[in-house]
């Protein structure tokens, strides 16, 4: 554990060197989210109604602000580039001879980057939460808040393993940017970070329910707002854990197969 903390510490310092870049990445997403909020203000103003698709204006604003914060924690850009490059440029060889687990090394670096973008994102969103404090509603209950935090954390792990799988296929492919990009594009809508999934027509919701992406934003935010029952929360967490276990299982299998194929090309 100690060595992974050391990796995290070194990664933290490395990313802090490029803090302006990270800050700009996060602030760009922040501006984009503010525009969506303006769209919903406009819809509620035009419709002159209290509720749209089961959401009051404060619920919708809270949902979108929460989704923005989760975005800065989870949905960061260029996920998996480093893993792809480490494998394809032969840098992996250097890690394999060290007394550490390479996937845990990558996970430590990933969590560290997430923590940094989360802090930057949180700072930006806190300002807007203060400005829109009339529209920002607190968590449904303290228990819901803790479950929300747990769901976000597990959503982050799910996200890591999903991209990890699509990065370590670099053992067989020269470039994995394409499949990772497709996943990112699907995620932009299927996580519910752009718009609550319950606003989609029923057949679309059916598709989204079959995918793991809703656990990254929609599910935690439903818990925060108290829009899901206890049984739905239990069912949701169970499904989330099944998805994580399945992805870990698949990733271990691909990793072992990949290592046999690895030829340290480029080293």
């Amino acid at each position: 554990m100690k060595k992974y903390l050391a990796v995290a510490k070194a990664t933290w310092q490395e990313y802090l060197t490029y803090r302006t870049n990270l800050f700009l990445e996060v602030i760009g997403g922040f501006v984009a989210q503010l525009v969506i909020i303006a769209v919903w203000f406009s819809i509620f103003r035009d419709l002159k109604t209290e509720i749209v698709a089961g959401y009051s204006l404060p619920e919708m604003i809270t949902y979108l602000l929460g989704a923005g914060i989760i975005n800065s924690f989870i949905l960061i850009a260029s996920q998996g580039d480093e893993i792809n490059d480490d494998i394809n440029r032969g840098k992996l060889s250097g890690f394999l001879v060290k007394p550490l687990s390479v996937p845990f090394y990558w996970l430590s670096r990933d969590l560290c980057r997430r923590a940094l973008t989360f802090i930057l994102g949180m700072g930006e969103y806190l300002v807007i939460i203060l400005i829109l404090s009339n529209y920002f509603i607190p968590p449904f209950s303290l228990a819901n808040f803790f479950m929300f935090c747990l769901a976000v954390l597990l959503g982050g792990i799910l996200h890591f393993f999903l991209f990890y799988i699509f990065s370590i296929i670099a053992f067989w492919m020269d470039q994995t940017w394409g499949p990772r990009f497709v996943i990112r594009v699907i995620m932009s809508i299927a996580t519910g970070s752009l718009i609550p999934l319950s606003l989609f027509p029923a057949n679309w919701q059916l598709v989204f329910n079959l995918l793991p992406f809703k656990f990254m934003a929609y599910f935690p935010l439903q818990i925060y707002l108290g829009k899901v029952s206890v049984s739905e929360i239990i069912l949701g967490f169970s499904a989330l854990l099944v998805w994580i276990s399945a992805l870990i299982g698949i990733s271990v299998w691909i990793w072992e197969k990949g290592l046999k194929k690895y030829s340290a090309y480029g080293n």
């Binding site: 760009g28 525009v35 406009s42 819809i43 492919m173 470039q175 594009v185 718009i195």
Partner: protein, 263 residues
């Protein structure tokens, strides 16, 4: 002009060969880019599933706005966006910019159009289909003048974005790593995918006059739909002209202060 068009054609061919070296990734990226375009249409579909109007815009008009935005986005992604946002800082970091300066070409042209992204160009065929869909399903009668005005405004939107990006990219001569600005720029232009009429008060002023994101899609689409605002067009012409001059000055200033790295 002919020489530069020929060079762009050569850049395209070379880049197609490079990108096709990773065929599965190329086709998946094209699929992803096309899906991203459809997601914008889907997003509006879902919004209109819950409301009949968005800031006074009907769905068919927002469809036009969306494909206008996608046309602009595809154009800049295929041409200068990544060149200036990501590849230029990379050239500077590795010291390869010196090599670029030795070419008998305008450095700004070379830096902006060196890599023509064929993935974006291929996925742009979907934009053509969306235009066909618009004309066959939603478009009502429009005048020839509106269409010409639409094209001119679209051109001004592109010049505005190019000038803005040149200013952003010039900062790479000092900061070296300016990729964060590229991502920031991407997110900022995405603001243009919604009608700027959703903004009220100070924000409306900001996106119309100070940072006229409205020029990307809202203003041309309105012109196409027959709503003209001549005083604003005059402002836009003056604004774009001044911004272009500033970007040229900033670029030249950055070039003068360039000191090679790594090489």
């Amino acid at each position: 002009m002919k020489k530069y068009l020929k060079i762009i054609w050569i850049f395209s061919k070379v880049n197609l060969q490079n990108q096709m070296a990773y065929r599965p990734s190329f086709f998946l990226a094209v699929l992803g880019k096309a899906t991203r375009m459809l997601i914008l249409i889907l997003l509006f579909r879902v919004i209109y599933f819950n409301t009949p109007l968005l800031a006074g815009w009907e769905y068919k008009d927002v469809f036009l706005l969306a494909i206008t935005y996608l046309t602009v986005e595809s154009t800049i992604l295929t041409t200068f966006h990544r060149n200036l946002s990501y590849y230029l800082p990379d050239l500077l970091k590795k010291g390869d910019f010196d090599f670029l300066l030795t070419k008998p070409l305008n450095p700004l042209f070379y830096s902006s159009f060196r890599i023509i992204d064929l993935m974006d160009l291929t996925s742009s065929s979907l934009v053509i289909f969306l235009w066909y869909y618009y004309f066959t399903h939603y478009a009502s009668a429009f005048s020839f003048l509106s269409f010409i005005l639409y094209l001119i405004l679209l051109g001004f939107g592109l010049i505005f974005l190019f000038s803005l990006l040149v200013i952003f990219a010039s900062s790479a001569f000092w900061t070296i790593n300016a990729t964060g600005l590229g991502r920031f720029f991407e997110d900022i232009i995405r603001t243009g995918r919604f009608p700027t009429d959703v903004f009220k008060g100070a924000f409306s002023f900001l996106f119309l006059y100070v940072f006229p994101i409205a020029t990307i899609a809202t203003v041309p689409s309105k012109a196409f739909l027959g709503t003209t605002n001549w005083p604003y067009y005059v402002y836009l012409v003056v604004f774009t002209f001044i911004l272009t001059l500033i970007s040229k000055k900033v670029w030249n200033y950055a070039l003068k202060h360039y000191s090679s790295a790594s090489s």
